[in-house]
């Protein structure tokens, strides 16, 4: 049956309610099993030896002493992970990042690993591995790395995207450009032009659960992997390719996931654990320490961004331009490209140009972090927009409303928008009581807008109806924050039954078809679409069974509120058949009843948010406190509004940490100085106020219920909103994130000295 994904504007019975999540009770009683909570018979403990150098040639590795230690069952190096990537450069980078092959490229880069009967012996064994390094000059700063005198991280890299291939290699892997119109003409028409440069430091997703897995490779070529991941099907593909396994013989089960935010979208330890298990002939559990998570997983980019915006006296923006340099770690990325696409996405611009440069540095390979690349670009652009509003003498909200993108606007990154929420979020903010609340001395209010694309992708879902009429829903998108509740609501809605009769699980890779990972805010968007499709397929069978029971044409059987109904006066004597009654008879009417769905969830509606923030800055110490915070965001349709609020609040809190405190600090030796939660301080409960939320619902025309992804956009505006609030509180424009007390004091001193 062809599935029609278009928005239909129906009335909802289940969607929009707030039931308790199906996985909740396990999580409040300690029974939920995360990556490190699973064990297998005969399991060994795996540990990884990591480079202490930011950049070094690995001249030799002697593992003989470690191998002889009693209790050690396997020691591996890159030789045990032979290159099977067959010219796939991206996969080769993943392989090299899992285990350094010729050079160690950052402090923390894996160089060897052991499996032993317990953790103590494994740690002792690491000390017995002798690695001879030839230390090379390193570079960790994004601007220094882009300079032509910088130490080369990979001498095979010649900048892509230039008109001519450059003669010399460089740390800049790629140049990308977006925009339309003529910015020179636009700036010539401007009465006011603001031009500023900004920097943001590298941050980490900071999920509380470190990466963890249990790998078991059997002699017959079959293997099992239990792992905390945002995408077990993608992990299966990558691990199978790197290990030379057939994908169907590697069964990957996603554990409960203790936070990911983009950081659990890439394999690091998993191929190593599989290689250790293959060599030892026993299962291996490999759990990263927190130190390893900071040094050797995938933090976000550090950035350096130049912005120029011009406007006429009436407040119309005539031109906007940005140059964005994003660090990608020692391997090629597309992070500046995404920043260049998102930078001006909130605005209706006739002349716009953005250029992105991807820059290699001796830091861990950059991974996604919630709306990856967008928060830094928004920080730069929204700060400059506020400055321009001030020069024009316009209210910051009114200036944005005047220039906001609308339905039909050609986005700065190319497409033409359908119905979008930027205007409505700005109008909601303009009239929000927060905007009129009084402020005290040293306090300031700021606001900023944010955009994220959202993603759909490949999705596969099974819906099985039990003989008692209860429903099992098997989805393949990992539940990172309550999607099993949302998807159960959707199944209940479509079937017309109560939420309590649906139980959703995340199926393993051998039980369901391929699913892309939970990223791009796609979990609820795409799996709800697949669930609706699967439920409609099941309803078709339910109607057929009822028709068979009644011996009438199936066309005369309708499905309403959980019942098959015979339509037409001639059927007046036929009582409706409930789902439960049809299911109970299924053994005699043709067997089990199920609905399946395999689709590509196209049409993820773009997402916009506007945030308001009040801060208080202590001019003596430079310390900044957020004292009030409001998030206004378009959800399309909030399937489970409480979890939508949770996404808004969580993204805002992460943004607050990024804006004020969090940063990777590297020493001159290229080593990470603050690889722990004591020195890399994420916001704690006493740092934050309540975070107010307002959900707007501008339906996505490409989803039956109007759903848009909601998970990521909430981290986009905070950096800028807080920077604007600080600027309004103390009169200095902060251009370097995080706005830690020393940076704010330095800015205040500079202002005083004029």
């Amino acid at each position: 049956m062809n599935f029609d994904p278009r928005f239909s504007g129906r009335q909802f019975a289940s969607v929009g309610t707030r039931p308790i999540r199906p996985d909740g009770i396990d999580k409040v009683t300690g029974r939920a099993r995360y990556g490190a909570d699973f064990n297998m018979a005969g399991q060994l403990v795996g540990r990884v030896l990591r480079s202490p150098h930011a950049h070094a040639v690995i001249k030799s590795i002697d593992t003989s002493k470690a191998e002889k230690l009693a209790g050690v069952k396997a020691v591996i190096t890159a030789k045990d992970l032979p290159d099977l990537t067959d010219g796939d450069a991206a996969m080769y980078d993943i392989l090299d990042n899992c285990m350094a092959r010729k050079k160690a490229l950052y402090d923390g880069h894996a160089v060897a690993a052991v499996a032993a009967i317990d953790a103590r012996i494994a740690r002792q064994a690491l000390k017995l591995i002798e690695v001879e390094y030839e230390v090379l000059p390193h570079v960790t700063d994004v601007d220094e790395a882009a300079h032509h005198h910088a130490p080369l991280i990979n001498d095979q890299v010649f900048t892509e995207g230039l008109e001519e291939k450059p003669a010399k290699p460089s740390n800049v892997t790629k140049r990308t450009q977006f925009g339309h119109g003529d910015v020179h003409k636009g700036f010539a028409e401007a009465d006011f032009v603001v031009e500023r440069s900004f920097k943001t430091e590298q941050t980490h997703q900071g999920y509380i659960e470190p990466h963890a897995c249990v790998a078991s490779v059997n002699a017959d070529g079959t293997a099992d992997l239990w792992v905390c991941t945002q995408g077990h099907f993608v992990y299966r593909q990558h691990c199978a390719q790197l290990l030379g396994l057939e994908a169907s013989k590697l069964r990957v089960t996603s554990s409960e996931i203790g936070g990911g935010f983009g950081g659990k979208t890439h394999v690091w330890a998993e191929p190593v654990a599989l290689a250790l298990s293959r060599k030892a002939g026993r299962p291996v559990k490999l759990v990263m320490t927190r130190d390893e998570v900071f040094r050797a997983s995938g933090p976000t980019s550090a950035t350096s961004i130049d912005v120029k915006i011009g406007a006429k006296k009436d407040g119309t923006i005539t031109a906007a331009e940005a140059t964005l340099r994003y660090s990608s770690g020692p391997y090629a990325g597309s992070w500046a490209e995404i920043g260049a696409m998102t930078a001006f996405a909130c605005y209706k611009l006739e002349n716009v140009k953005t250029v992105g440069y991807e820059v290699l540095v001796n830091r861990p390979k950059t991974a996604a972090y919630r709306a990856p690349s967008a928060p830094m670009a928004a920080f730069a652009v929204e700060s400059a927009v506020d400055e321009l509003a001030k020069e024009l003498g316009m209210d910051a909200v009114d200036f944005r409303i005047k220039n906001a993108a609308q339905e039909g606007t050609r986005a700065s990154y190319g497409p033409v928008y359908g119905p979008i929420g930027i205007g409505p979020t700005l109008e909601a903010v303009k009239h929000h009581p927060h905007m009129k609340a009084p402020l005290k001395a040293n306090q300031g209010r700021g606001m900023a807008c944010g955009f994220w694309f959202n993603f759909g992708g490949q999705t596969c879902t099974d819906l099985n109806i039990g003989m008692d009429g209860s429903v099992s829903l098997a989805v393949g998108t990992v539940d990172v924050g309550g999607s099993r509740a949302s998807l159960s609501l959707v199944a209940a809605e479509e079937l017309g039954i109560d939420y309590s009769h649906v139980k959703a699980i995340v199926a393993d890779t051998s039980s369901l078809g391929y699913n892309d990972m939970t990223d791009g805010s796609r979990g609820t968007f795409s799996s709800s679409m697949a669930t609706i499709s699967a439920a409609r397929n099941a309803i078709k069978i339910l109607r057929e069974r009822a028709a068979q029971t009644w011996d009438i044409p199936v066309e005369d059987v309708h499905w309403e509120k959980g019942h098959a109904i015979a339509k037409g006066e001639k059927y007046g004597n036929l009582s409706p058949l409930s789902l439960k009654e049809i299911a109970a008879a299924s053994g005699k009417t043709g067997g089990p009843i199920a609905g399946h769905s395999e689709l590509v969830a196209d049409g993820a509606g773009v997402s916009f948010a506007t945030h308001i923030c009040d801060v208080e800055v202590d001019p003596e110490t430079g310390s900044t406190r957020v004292i009030r915070y409001t998030v206004v965001q378009d959800a399309g349709k909030a399937v489970h509004p409480t979890y939508v609020e949770g996404q808004y609040q969580g993204g805002a809190a992460q943004g607050i940490g990024w804006a004020l405190n969090e940063e990777y600090i590297y020493g001159k030796d290229g080593r990470l100085q603050n690889a722990g939660f004591l020195d890399y301080r994420i916001p704690v409960c006493s740092d934050l106020p309540m975070i107010d939320t307002q959900i707007l619902e501008i339906p996505n025309p490409n989803h039956p219920y109007g759903v848009r992804g909601v998970g990521e956009t909430s981290i986009v505006p905070p950096l800028a909103a807080i920077a604007n609030a600080v600027s309004n509180a103390v009169g200095v424009r902060m251009t370097h994130i995080p706005m830690s007390p020393p940076r704010i004091l330095a800015a205040l001193d500079a202002e005083r000295e004029g």
């Binding site: 707030r18 996985d23 409040v28 009683t29 490190a36 509380i208 936070g259 924050g481 979890y643 969580g650």
Partner: protein, 158 residues
């Protein structure tokens, strides 16, 4: 390395185990006793995911040695509900959706239980400082604070 014989009480039950002298209480709970409700988020006492109560005192079990549990009373998340009767904090965390990924939740529940036992009527500020030793990266703490406030009200009325 010779093991240390330990006799202790965990969630009201007498428990005996052998552990290494340098083994943490968290390792004993998780790896020897199968009590995996306490989580290791950092191993350095910074995140609170491994919170347990030892003789009425809230501790990070990653900073306590297994041998130190000798003769003491240890309370973990696995003992918080009475049979199928959830503790009011557990119930309110569910009702308020005070968890997203849930990995910090056992630690927050133990810390909140300790807080309410010592201060049954905490202000919002007292809750925020009382739970400042526990990291949550998903929720922004808003719904956690509200759940604790609601649970405190329920417990006072009980």
């Amino acid at each position: 390395m010779a093991g240390v014989a330990v006799s202790t009480t965990i969630n009201g039950d007498a428990v005996e185990y052998l552990c290494q002298p340098d083994e943490t209480l968290l390792e004993v709970l998780r790896d020897r006793l199968g009590l995996t409700g306490a989580k290791e988020g950092c191993g350095t006492g910074d995140c609170g995911a491994c919170s347990v109560i030892v003789d009425g005192r809230l501790v990070c079990s990653c900073l306590v040695l297994g041998a130190e549990a000798e003769g003491r009373k240890v309370e973990t998340i696995e003992g918080m509900a009475h049979g199928d009767q959830l503790h009011p904090l557990q119930q309110k965390f569910l009702e308020h959706a005070a968890l997203q990924c849930g990995v910090c939740t056992p630690g927050f529940l133990i810390a909140a239980k300790d807080l309410l036992e010592k201060n049954p009527s905490p202000t919002e500020e007292e809750i925020r400082f009382g739970l400042a030793g526990n990291l949550c990266r998903c929720t922004g703490y808003d719904k956690i604070v509200r759940a604790v406030q609601d649970a405190a009200n329920v417990m006072k009325g009980a």
